[in-house]
């Protein structure tokens, strides 16, 4: 079909987590071995992804066609910069998250750890499949596998609350993809004759503005994992899951798969030029902007820490959508940067929430007075993550916001500028009080009696590592920036 030789590394990277998932159940009675397999898989995956990132930076686009059906629906992978960036973020954080999980799952005596690690590995495998998908069919395939494999993780507790949440999660995500996303793919196939992700898009001059608008809406709301309001409410529901799931999957893998999909569809199916020529960006800006602001306002009112983080995620995800909607090259670079930056900061925040739950069994923000004195590492990392969310230097969050804001200014998109400014204030408004409470309020009397000290070391290790990552990305953004710019350079 094409000149580029197929690179088996690509297939290997996608398969690695699935192989891990197949091996884990063999160690039913040996948790140590089971955890080693998880960790080894994560390290192997990250190494493979790094090799591919090196290739991509060198200008190559490694690809691998698995199978093409009679009509041209193909399962095929192609690593392009945005996918490489996403895969790199997901796979490297999986290593940290695995170590964190070992501490968390043991300390909380969670049941059914075997199926937990199996589902986790499958979810990561699907994430890599999504990141490397060469066409919409492959993307959709792994998108659904990701939903299905994370469903048991969301309902891990198996109580009435988690079953109800699981229902919302499952029906909304699969329902939206089935009812909106799938017709969009079929329509793209009919109109463009291809569903391959192509630099510059495949829909140029093929459809009227109205059709493009409808299609774009189908994609934006059909890819419900991006949690654009009103298809966002699966995300707060998913917070019933154990914290490592919320941390890696519902702050990184699953939600980023959503925004990644939206970015990729906008850039490589519609094409930036087509979208701006058709004048479709204004309503998308409005929807994304509204999501950013409304979700922030809702977050302000949450007392449950994980729920506040979840609404913050909803809001932050739409920054990325906003970055695309602005349709300036620099803002798309910003969107890609923010995809990585938000991942690092948000996983840190979730790690901290899980750490507090493990060590002190606290879940509500109003209970956190003085917790920073008891758990300085945890709350220190939390503070770093919070700065990242607000977008203050020296954290990674600054970079993404900076580029998106520059793009908004360049295109004189004052709505977007206003949204970014207002939401920055709101972010500060719902994160800084937590930090203040933790360090400067007197602890409640009964807190000391229950026990002292930090969570187990794997947990502390995890959140420290990601907090350092949040800072490091600010100082060394080269790899991310190089990948992000080559998205718009083509």
């Amino acid at each position: 079909m094409m000149g580029a030789a197929s690179n088996p590394l690509v297939l290997l990277a996608v398969l690695a987590p699935f192989v891990g998932a197949a091996i884990i159940p063999l160690f039913n009675k040996q948790p140590i071995l089971r955890e080693s397999v998880t960790l080894l898989t994560a390290v192997a995956l990250c190494a493979l992804v790094l090799l591919l990132v090196g290739d991509v930076l060198a200008g190559a686009r490694p690809e691998f066609d698995v199978i093409t059906t009679a009509v041209g629906l193909a399962v095929a992978f192609k690593v392009e910069p945005l996918g490489a960036l996403f895969a790199f973020v997901a796979s490297s954080l999986w290593i940290v998250n695995s170590i964190y999980s070992f501490g968390y799952m043991r300390a909380n005596n969670e049941p059914r750890q075997k199926s937990f690690y199996v589902c986790f590995a499958i979810a990561l495998g699907s994430t890599i499949g999504i990141a490397f998908a060469k066409n919409l069919f492959t993307f959709y395939l792994f998108y659904e596998v990701l939903t299905i494999s994370t469903y048991p993780l969301v309902t891990h507790k198996k109580d009435t609350e988690s079953l109800a949440a699981g229902r919302v999660y499952f029906l909304l995500l699969i329902g939206a993809s089935l009812v909106l996303f799938l017709p969009a793919i079929v329509a793209t196939w009919i109109i463009a004759g291809t569903i391959d992700f192509t630099p510059g898009g495949v829909l140029a001059d093929k459809a009227s503005a109205g059709v493009i608008g409808v299609l774009l809406a189908l994609y934006i709301f059909g890819i419900a994992k991006a949690a654009v309001i009103p298809v966002h409410f699966w995300l707060p529901a998913a917070m019933v899951a154990p914290t490592p799931v919320s941390a890696l999957l519902h702050a990184v893998a699953v939600v980023k798969a959503g925004v990644f999909g939206i970015v990729k569809v906008c850039v490589m199916i519609f094409g930036v030029e087509t979208l701006s020529a058709m004048g479709q960006s204004s309503w998308l800006t409005a929807v994304a902007g509204a999501t950013v602001v409304i979700a922030s306002l809702v977050a302000l009112k949450q007392d449950n820490l994980k729920r506040r983080l979840a609404y913050s995620t909803v809001s932050q995800l739409s920054y990325i959508v906003l970055g695309v909607a602005i349709l300036a090259p620099i803002s798309i670079v910003g969107a890609a940067m923010h995809l990585a930056a938000h991942a690092l900061s948000k996983i840190t925040l979730f790690f901290a929430a899980g750490s507090i739950y493990t060590a002190a069994h606290l879940t509500e923000i109003s209970q956190l007075d003085g917790i920073g004195r008891r758990m300085p590492w945890t709350m220190g990392a939390f503070a770093v993550g919070a700065l990242g969310m607000i977008g203050l230097p020296p954290t990674a969050g600054f970079l993404g916001k900076w580029f998106i804001l520059s793009g908004a200014m360049q295109t004189a998109n004052w709505v977007a500028v206003a949204v970014i400014v207002v939401s920055t204030l709101l972010n500060a408004g719902y994160f800084l009080p937590i930090v203040y409470r933790a360090f400067f309020c007197e602890p409640a009397a009964d807190l000391g009696a229950e026990g002292r000290g930090e969570a187990p070391w794997p947990i502390v290790f995890g959140l420290t590592a990601t907090a350092i990552g949040t800072l490091a990305m600010f100082f060394y953004p080269e790899v991310f920036y190089a990948l992000a710019t080559s998205i718009v350079m083509g």
Binding site: I67, T69, A70, V71, L73, V75, F137, Y140, L141, E144, V145, I148, P152, T155, K158, L163, G166, R167, F170, L171, I174, G175, L178, V179, L182, P183, V186, A187, W189, I190
Partner: protein
């Protein structure tokens, strides 16, 4: 060897008929099962050989007893029937090993041999309908398959099986009567019973005798639609499937309605479609409207079933709607989608019913509320159920996705955006009823009764795993399913006037 090679169409019907006779004389279930097993395993070989002949040398015309058509009975096998024959015979061959344990568990000992006898008769009838090119001969086989089906259903352990069987007997007889009236009218008009001959003679006559021809078409449509359980003629199906012996349900769900659908396609595209401009009649509109009603109403009813077998039966009615939708669309992609869904639905529904049959074999219940936590105790069984369930929903990577894809493409080719949404929206209802079972099976704590169960014996497990694997395989590699269905659709549409 050439004797066998040239007589394959007759052998396809004669061998199961002889098998049925043999088992009729048997007393022991084990020996009858052995005969059924051998016959069932021979069938796909014959059907496959015929498919090969058709693919390499074109349609087969076989003159039964050497009498030339249109006076003698002609067995005519083209791509479409070869496709259906391979499907029905292969499903039979794959699931037959599971029959022994399941039937022995559910039936009294002295009835086991009769069960296999009736199964082989039913197989004879179904393969006969698919192989024959003669309108009246098709009626004979239709009756053979129907009568044996009534018995199969009535053999169910639940006493409600008798009532269901009787209900089906009444409805089925009405259907058969309508069919034979339709054939009679065609005979009056054309003076022939050979389908190809009817098609060639009907054209000129149709203009003068338009009302008679339309009446014939209407009678045939209603008669066959009763057999294939097209909404709203489906009322016999849920009870029949729910209370028949588990294994009989598997077989019937995967084959009986599919063969009736084949017959409908045959009349629409190869008889009436060739003779007249069928687009002038509102057949397509009626088909699409009824299909949509089936897809939504039956799916919706399925959501509220407490008996899993009954739920799957309603789901069958809905899924048949997708197939008839493809027939109604009658364009290349749409008809391909309908045809390929015949295969895909057969595979997925066989998996689901077989899995639930295995559950009944172990747990002795198919009430949803009593199956809490069964997935943890029968993991392989319920994993197969889960895979096929996602197939029904149309998840990518499963066979069901391929069908929906083609149907959606077919609808868009006509510019019917709304229909695309209706197709996917009705699939979303499947998500709900399948999701209910999955949640109960996997996420509830096992009750004490469930806690001591384990996966069924290998004879059930292997067919289950094979079918579940096929659900995934045909979702990825569609060369055989879509490849042949698309060629058959091209031939059918190409023949239209």
């Amino acid at each position: 060897m050439t004797v066998v090679w040239t007589n394959l169409p007759a052998l396809q019907v004669v061998i199961p008929l002889i098998g049925a006779l043999l088992t009729g004389f048997m007393r022991r279930g084990a020996t009858a099962f052995a005969v059924a097993l051998v016959v069932s395993w021979m069938m796909p070989v014959i059907a496959g050989a015929m498919l090969w002949q058709v693919l390499t040398a074109g349609p087969i015309s076989y003159h039964l007893g050497g009498w030339a058509p249109p006076w003698g009975i002609e067995y005519r096998v083209d791509l479409l029937n070869a496709f259906v024959l391979v499907l029905v015979s292969t499903i039979g061959a794959v699931i037959i090993p599971a029959a022994r344990r399941s039937v022995a568990f559910e039936l009294e000992e002295w009835r086991e041999a009769w069960f296999y006898c009736m199964y082989l008769l039913c197989l004879t009838g179904l393969l006969g309908i698919a192989v024959t090119g003669d309108a009246f001969n098709a009626f004979v086989f239709l009756e053979i398959s129907s009568l044996s089906t009534y018995v199969l259903i009535a053999l169910g352990a639940d006493r409600r099986a008798l009532l269901s069987s009787f209900q089906y007997l009444i409805m089925g007889t009405i259907g058969a009567t309508f069919y034979v009236i339709g054939v009679g009218l065609l005979y009056l008009l054309t003076g022939t019973l050979n389908m190809a001959d009817i098609a060639s003679r009907l054209g000129p006559i149709a203009t003068q005798n338009f009302p008679a021809m339309v009446t014939a078409l209407a009678f045939l449509t209603v008669g066959i639609s009763l057999k294939l359980a097209l909404f709203p003629l489906h009322v016999w199906l849920p009870n029949a499937y729910a209370y028949a012996p588990s294994w009989a349900t598997v077989f019937l769900a995967a084959s009986a309605t599919k063969v009736a659908i084949y017959l409908l396609i045959r009349y629409y595209f190869s008889v009436f479609g060739v003779a007249i401009n069928i687009d002038a009649l509102p057949m397509s509109e009626i088909m699409i409207a009824l299909s949509l009603a089936a897809m939504f109403i039956a799916s919706f009813v399925a959501v509220f079933q407490t008996n899993v077998k009954r739920m799957l039966a309603y789901s069958s009615v809905a899924q048949i709607g997708y197939i008839t939708l493809g027939i109604g669309l009658a364009n290349q992609a749409g008809l391909t989608g309908g045809l390929v869904h015949i295969v895909n639905h057969a595979i997925m529904k066989a998996t689901l019913f077989l899995a639930i049959g295995a559950v009944f074999y172990r747990a002795y219940t198919v009430q949803l509320k009593e199956l809490a936590g069964i997935g943890r105790r029968m993991p392989v069984t319920m994993a197969a159920f889960t895979i096929a369930g996602f197939g029904l929903v149309g998840t990518p990577g499963t066979a069901g996705f391929i069908s929906k894809w083609y149907l959606a493409v077919g609808a868009l080719d006509k510019g019917w955006w709304v229909l695309v949404f209706l197709i996917v929206a009705s699939s979303a209802i499947a998500l709900v009823y399948i999701g209910r079972v999955l949640e109960v099976a996997w996420l509830r704590e096992p009750s004490p009764a469930i806690a001591q169960l384990r996966d069924p014996p290998l004879s059930m497990l292997v067919p289950l795993v094979v079918l579940a694997a096929a659900t995934i395989y045909f979702g990825i590699d569609t060369e055989w399913t879509v490849g042949i269905a698309s060629k058959a659709a091209t031939a059918l549409i190409g023949g239209l006037r």
